[in-house]
Subunit: 157 residues, 8 copies
């Protein structure tokens, strides 16, 4: 669908320790053939790199913060940890719009990027429609299997 050489979406993490969760976003963008890049840029440890990245991203066509492009936030929550990342994302002041996803919702973040890009990309729109129909059909199929085989059978699988 897209020329992979120029990233349309930037997946930015403050630390590579978030890669286990955020790689789900990269995988889904791959499924849709959307060019993207994965970066470690920290507002706290590399603030200048973060600022440059934001400023240059429009010319390079990417989703980024401190920019005029749409930004989607995925709060990371670890087992036993608190909801601090979530509250931090949701508190943006008036004038700074940030699209917050559920905790660890990397895949949903990528799907929102797909929906945004599909507004002006007919081919991507069709690929996404196919994806949504498959989601629908999967639910219908499992419901049918439940009726046919009984829940005891499904639960054992």
């Amino acid at each position: 669908m897209n020329d992979m050489s120029s990233p349309l979406v930037g997946i930015i993490m403050g630390s590579d320790s978030d890669l286990d969760i955020m790689s789900d976003a990269a995988k889904l963008l791959d499924e849709f053939g959307i060019a993207h890049e994965v970066r470690v840029v920290s507002a706290h440890r590399t603030p200048e790199e973060m600022a440059s990245y934001a400023k240059e991203s429009r010319d390079r066509g990417m989703t980024a913060s401190e920019t005029t492009l749409p930004v989607i936030a995925v709060p990371i929550k670890r087992e036993g940890g608190g909801h601090e990342a979530f509250w931090s994302n949701i508190k943006m002041p008036p004038g700074v719009p940030l699209a917050t996803m559920p905790e660890n919702g990397a895949r949903n973040a990528a799907l929102l990027a797909v929906r945004i890009l599909a507004l002006a990309d007919q081919q991507l729109y069709e690929a996404y429609s196919t994806y949504v129909h498959k989601q629908h059909d999967d639910v219908v199929a499992i419901d049918k299997q439940l009726q046919d085989d009984g829940w005891q059978t499904i639960l054992k699988q």
Copy 2:
């Protein structure tokens, strides 16, 4: 920027009692000259109208739920009320991306819509850049005033 006759953004409420908060989104879209419509459609009380609205919105060019278009949620919180609307919005299951805003963040929701539409609309992009610069200059101006006049003067205003 846009022909006002065809809405690019749909502002949907479950009840007209949310109009006091959601009208901020309509006002901001007006500032940017973005065609929009304000609707009362309830997932609980008019589920069929909600479904039709979602299905027909792409042809009509609008942001809506149960659709392939991007959806932005504004949880409504009333004085003394709880955070239920917020949690309900943030809990979307995998595969159903929803861009959640802070509670009562109607203006930020409209700004996110502006950012999304500006991806493919150079004129809107420039209008939004002007808006962001004005935000910046307003902060610089109030900081200068603080240095010049002292915080005691500002606080009294």
Copy 3:
């Protein structure tokens, strides 16, 4: 619909200070012509009366706790107060089913009672269907008014 002399629903409060909220349930049951009684019985201050009430309620045909009849709980929340009543209701141990409503949801509690009684009362079922259709039509009407008159007009009302 019902003979008012024998209560089908019992509205029980621990204190008459909850009457401002719980009277909404009584009003809705009145709308549907469902016989009911309003009682102040306290698990903490009149435990014996509470136990007798529960035991005798089936013979008298009422909804009550410590009984085999369905029980619906409305947690009372006061301005500035906490969610303690809510958590207390929702924590029932396995084997003690309690239908919890949203905080102060007296009207919804009465509507659930209506739905339960309508299972075996065709006349009540029809009255409730009319009620649901009216809810639907009210939303459609306000949506139409919004399109016709603009949200500015509605907001001013």
Copy 4:
């Protein structure tokens, strides 16, 4: 007690991954011989199937949402996950009564269904009374065992 061919209770899940928890409801309804069906229907992925199911359920005699029948909600909570499902269920707007159970309270949900159906089913009422008495006797028995054998013995078992 009931003819198993026509379901009196519908157990609906958004995904078959909830089957491990919700099957407790099916098991308890089996204990009481109450005809039921287990379905996967998703408000988000198969909204039309959900709507049809709700509309047709009364004729088929089942408990379902978007209907005039009583609806009982069981919020699913996973180890390490949050309370989002719970808040989402408890926030129903006025006019949409939903009987919320404790998190993962599938068994209690089934018991509430039993209590509702027992209102008009003497045989079921007697079966449920027996069940409640057994609960009572089990507590008395374990209390007696505690007095006879000492808590040290019970704890070791």
Copy 5:
């Protein structure tokens, strides 16, 4: 009941700004004729006075912290404020027993003191029994009034 000259209960506050809430405890102890004293002693601002108070309280017969006597905590919660005082009280480490009351529960704290003192004071026990019976009779009376006059009459009062 008691000789008022020697305090049996010490009501200690960190600041006299809590007096509006804590004076309820003093009033109830007055009702029961229990000798008490009201003190402002701050663990943070007058730590030495706090320590002396605790150490000397047994000889003087009072309830106090850092002592071998029972201590009852009333977390103060102000309108718009948080639950910090509450959590601070409830977090006592193993080995430091503290009887926590509901927020602003000064009256309940005094009643617990009454129950403790009544263990070894037959006259106080009888006074407290009378108090409990009056609570019971008040509920029965309001319930009767509700049945006689209807809730509409009570609500208007």
Copy 6:
């Protein structure tokens, strides 16, 4: 200190599944030689037994609910479970004093019982003072060990 044949403290649980936590209270009372009994009595499943227990407990000399004796509550919290039991205990209405402990604070509950009983039992007071001094000396000893051996040594143990 006490004649073991007549219980001074009653440890009551709604289910024997709480025995793993509540047995800590029994153990501590054993250390102090305070006669006690451990009972399973359920407000929900054996309400009549609960009421009888409360009423008869004064004559038998025990701590119990629905009584004029002091009652200490230990909210049980299980791994992965919520704080419902805690909120339920802390919400007692005015007039019903309940001494709430931290979650799973069975040992602290027993220590509070010791403090209460020690008010009128010089021998128990001396045993408890010894206990408190030992707590103090244990802390001083570990602090000394830390200075002597270094934290690295202590941490390895």
Copy 7:
């Protein structure tokens, strides 16, 4: 104590709407004669000014973020608003130390700055010691007044 021309403490706000709360910090620093400046600099709206401020602050002798100087955070909480600012401040990742104060704790923030500066400023240390003793004496005085006049008198004032 200090030459007022060169600020030792910088009080930074994201918006001048926080001035009503943060001016308490300025007032307390004035009491101690500590040179300070009050600035509006926004991480979201004027990120470059924020970065320059942080970098230049050491040479100018001020407390600031993105710097090697100590930073103290005061989360702002408005009536009816949530705790988002608080959680956002407390979530700093490892390697970015931030001293968080209670919500709206501007005065405590200034006192912490005083304590830090007093480490190397004997005159300031003495002024602060006087302040602490006055706090102590105020508590002792109000306690004495309470004993002399009774709480009824104090409460009426």
Copy 8:
């Protein structure tokens, strides 16, 4: 940098069971060659030792509570435990400044101590600047590695 014989920072715990978390602070202070001591002193079990420690700490040059020196609090949170320690630390009353860290943030607490001591210690300032630059360079390096090798490679490591 410092003479190790006289501690500049005191690391105080209520129990040696916190040593696994707090030893991170000791390790970081070691990295910077800052003299420190690790102590077990309990406000609840050894209140007199705590008071003496606070009073004598200035002469000995340490960070401590109930003192005029800066105090940094690290709330300890255990797997499955609650946030009580955190709320207890954050609730300090006006006039008692306490620098609260994130839960278990021992390393950040030590870094704040470093920043405070570096205000008057040029050598320590330079060591800390080197540390901050290393943090920055580590992020840049991992970002470069991510671009060069792909996230799949990094994730596998």
